[in-house]
């Protein structure tokens, strides 16, 4: 787990919205933490567990079960290549391979300079424009091999 420091006040502020001891708020609270920090830092999980009266094992079980949560900080630009069926048959894997080579990372990985994270996602529901790549949530449709690395490296 990474050794970054977070501001505990920020985490407390998020968790104050949840009633004390309300275990059903676990997933939502984790989502809010993920949204605030871009990942789920251990310090924030500890504060969460205290507030919602959840054992820390259960919080980490949830944080590792659901794909939406990351225990590691992510890069400035999150590249999400859709690998839904429609994108797959229109060449999504080629795009993944290409980005892996260009940035020297594996899917799920982040570049050492914390600039880029590459993720694959099972369908963003924009199948008519397959293959789709989302850069920080902004969708790009009908992506051709070659063009996406240029776009990414242009912003590098």
């Amino acid at each position: 787990m990474s050794k970054t420091c977070i501001d505990p006040k920020k985490a407390r502020k998020i968790l104050d919205r949840y009633p004390e001891g309300d275990q059903t708020g676990l997933i939502h609270a984790l989502q809010d933490i993920q949204a605030e920090f871009g990942y789920v830092p251990r310090e924030a999980v500890e504060i969460l567990c205290e507030r919602l009266n959840v054992p820390i094992s259960k919080a980490f079980a949830a944080a590792t079960f659901y794909k939406a949560f990351s225990l590691e900080p992510k890069g400035d630009v999150v590249i999400r290549v859709c690998t839904g069926t429609a994108c797959h048959i229109r060449g999504a894997q080629t795009l993944v391979d290409e980005i892996c080579v260009a940035l020297d990372i594996r899917p799920g990985g982040t570049t050492k300079d914390l600039k880029f994270t590459l993720e694959t996602v099972n369908c963003v529901g924009a199948c008519a424009m397959a293959p789709v790549v989302a850069l920080n949530g902004e969708y790009h449709g009908n992506v051709q091999p070659g063009s996406i690395t240029k776009k990414i490296q242009g912003g590098k």
Binding site: Q23, T24, G25, L26, I27, H28, L30, Q31, A61, A62, F65, Y66, K67, A68, F69, T83, G84, T85, A86, C87, H88, I89, R90, G91, T94, D97, E98, V121, N122, C123, V124, G125, A126, C127, A128, M129, A130, V132, G137, E138, Y139, H140, G141, Q144, P145, G146, T149
Partner: protein, 618 residues
């Protein structure tokens, strides 16, 4: 302003209609996820500026509206001009001036922005004349593309919440259940369970409180029906749920939605707030004393949470692992209380059934699968997008009439339906009517409505491998046959696609599949072997070619083929050399080109761009 009675709902509808009628012309710009990605918001802004700066809103009595997805996503951004129904595609901000000057002011049609039929090459002016739309029948999608999803008055003007008013004041809960039963409505999420029967069991369950939930955890890759409905007509979902809550006697409910759909979450949230403000949701709905409220629960990116018992655990803040269903969730569901869970499309159908009548719905489709179904028609088909058709239509009609056939008129190979639990159907099954039971008999399933068309450049072994990889990632890990068995299946297929297949692999796959089907707890495991088994059943020859001859004739499995440029066909246009990301194609302009086999990564970019199909798989 709160609507306190059915009467004031009627007058609100009248006012909203009158407000709409003031406009002599309406410009509708699609702002679904697809069109937004193509820049439709800039088009809206340009229209807004042009209209305001020239006072066209008052001069021409012109209204501008952003709508949900029109379904024809590949051609976006889409603009429709009513009342003439002129349909413009691929509109860019720079086209707006032309549209305003020519079409809005002078009533001329701009040829270059019209849709061009993929087969006849003719320009089509009218929205309704485009084959993609002409064959459709829209019930669940009835308002999408016509109303502004952010404006509740627009929904009310389109008879919105009239079904709810009718249910609450003219019908008893039992009569509502009776109507839904009579309509023959079956769950649109894939299960196909009769909705009326589900509601009745829940209503008769003794425990309290009861819950009514909506499943918007649309996880099947290649499907986006629910996203479009939540984005484009969120009030229809809410209205359906309130009617359902009235029928079963629930006071609380949740919409469980994927976090990958941020726009849908936003639109639903806004719709819930508006409906509460108007007294159509929350306490004392329409002054009848009936109360029901809805909260949104965002999913955590786990496919398994689309399964009912896993979904309910996730709503309760737990890990989404399914449980055995000796006791159904209509008896013991969320928080161990009786719970009705229906899919987005099912909920959207409900208000229509109540307003228009159960008989009208039952008259559509086939005897055992009534009504219509929304499909996302995607893959290697000319017209991709979202369609709604009556049940019983054939696959051929969908793919070739509505979809316009295969891209670049390549040969059709298969259509995949039912998501990761479904299967691939070959050409010989194209004339089957699409309904719940026929597709299951053919070795696939209806599923939630994803329909992915594949041509001769799609490898069926790779497709099976793809779905197994998906299922390995998404198996929750609770039971061994699914967790380990699907993993082993995937390993075997990986080996076959790599070129390490062994004789006997297919038989091994089949016997392993038997165990997985028999011994898994939930539907994910039980149906996990479907994609492999259906491809073995219909495309056994491809498996044999991979294993025995080390050949992938589709040109997908990279160790099993090479590309060559045909000397007879190559015209020397140079497009392939330009497209090649590793610069391994050489050749002078107007002379035959050649691929350097050592450098080639077999990405297929050259094959995709070649206008004469000279890049061949050997």
């Amino acid at each position: 302003m709160r609507i306190k009675s059915v009467k004031s709902l009627a007058s609100a509808a009248k006012t909203a209609c009158a407000e709409r009628a003031k406009n002599k012309m309406e410009v509708l710009v699609c702002a679904g996820t697809g069109c937004l990605a193509n820049g439709s918001l800039d088009v809206v802004k340009s229209f807004d500026r042009a209209i305001k700066s020239r006072n066209l809103d008052t001069k021409l009595k012109l209204g501008l509206k952003t709508t949900g997805c029109h379904g024809f996503c590949e051609n976006g951004p889409l603009v429709v001009i009513q009342p003439k129904g002129i349909f413009y595609k691929g509109v860019k901000p720079k086209d707006v001036k032309d549209i305003v000057d020519k079409t809005l002011i002078n009533g001329e049609v701009i040829e270059r922005l019209l849709y061009r039929d993929a087969n006849t090459k003719e320009r089509v002016e009218q929205y309704t004349a485009i084959p993609f739309y002409a064959r459709q029948l829209r019930i669940a999608l009835r308002n999408i593309g016509k109303i502004d999803p952010g404006n509740i008055d627009d929904y009310i003007a389109a008879d919105g919440y009239a079904g709810l008013a009718k249910a609450l004041t003219e019908m008893t809960p039992e009569e509502v259940i009776e109507a839904v039963t009579k309509s023959g409505l079956r769950g649109r999420g894939g299960g196909g369970f009769p909705t009326g029967r589900k509601w009745k069991t829940c209503r008769n369950a003794a425990a309290e409180p009861k819950y009514v939930l909506c499943n918007a955890d649309e996880g099947d890759p290649g499907a986006f029906m629910d996203r479009s409905i939540c984005e484009g007509d969120p009030h229809a979902v809410l209205e359906g749920m309130v009617i359902g809550a009235w029928a079963v006697g629930a006071a609380e409910g949740y919409i469980y939605i994927r976090e990958e759909y941020p726009l849908a979450v936003k639109h639903l949230q806004r719709a819930i707030e508006q409906a509460r403000e108007r007294g159509l949701l929350g306490d004392d709905i329409l002054g009848t004393g009936f109360s029901y409220d809805i909260k949104i629960a965002r999913g955590g990116g786990a496919f398994i949470c689309g399964e009912s018992s896993a979904l309910m655990k996730s709503v309760a803040g737990e890990i989404g692992e399914p449980r055995a269903k000796y006791v159904h969730s209509v008896i013991r569901g969320l928080h161990d209380r009786p719970t009705v869970l229906n899919n987005v499309e099912t909920w959207s159908d409900v208000p229509w059934i109540i307003t228009e009548g159960a008989e009208k719905f039952a008259a559509l489709g086939t005897k055992k699968s009534t009504g219509t179904k929304v499909f996302s028609l995607v893959g290697k088909v000319k017209n991709t997008g979202l369609i709604e058709v009556p049940m019983g239509i054939t696959l051929r009609e969908i793919i070739f009439d509505i979809g316009g056939g295969i891209i670049r008129d390549r040969p059709f190979k298969a259509v995949q339906t039912g998501g990761p639990s479904g299967g691939c159907l070959p050409e010989s099954k194209l004339d089957l009517p699409v309904d719940f039971d026929t597709l299951t008999d053919a070795g696939s399933m209806m599923g939630s409505g994803g329909m992915i068309v594949m041509d001769d450049r799609t490898c069926m072994v790779d497709t099976a491998r793809y779905f197994l990889k998906f299922l390995v990632d998404e198996s929750c890990g609770k039971c061994v046959p699914c967790r380990e068995g699907v993993h082993q299946l995937h390993q075997i297929l990986e080996a076959i696609c790599r070129g390490d297949g062994k004789p006997g692999d297919v038989e091994k796959i089949e016997s392993l599949s038997d165990v997985i089907v028999a011994a898994s707890l939930c539907a994910l495991g039980k149906s996990a072997p479907n994609p492999v088994l259906s491809t073995i059943r219909h495309f056994r020859r491809e498996y044999d070619a991979h294993i025995n001859n080390r050949k992938c004739s589709a040109g997908v499995c990279r160790n099993l083929f090479t590309f060559e440029i045909s000397e007879e066909k190559c015209t020397g246009c140079g497009l392939c050399a330009k497209a090649c990301p590793v610069d391994c194609i050489v050749g002078e302009l107007k002379k035959v080109h050649r691929i350097d086999g050592k450098e080639c990564t077999r990405c297929g970019a050259c094959r995709n761009v070649c206008p004469v199909d000279a890049v061949e798989v050997v």
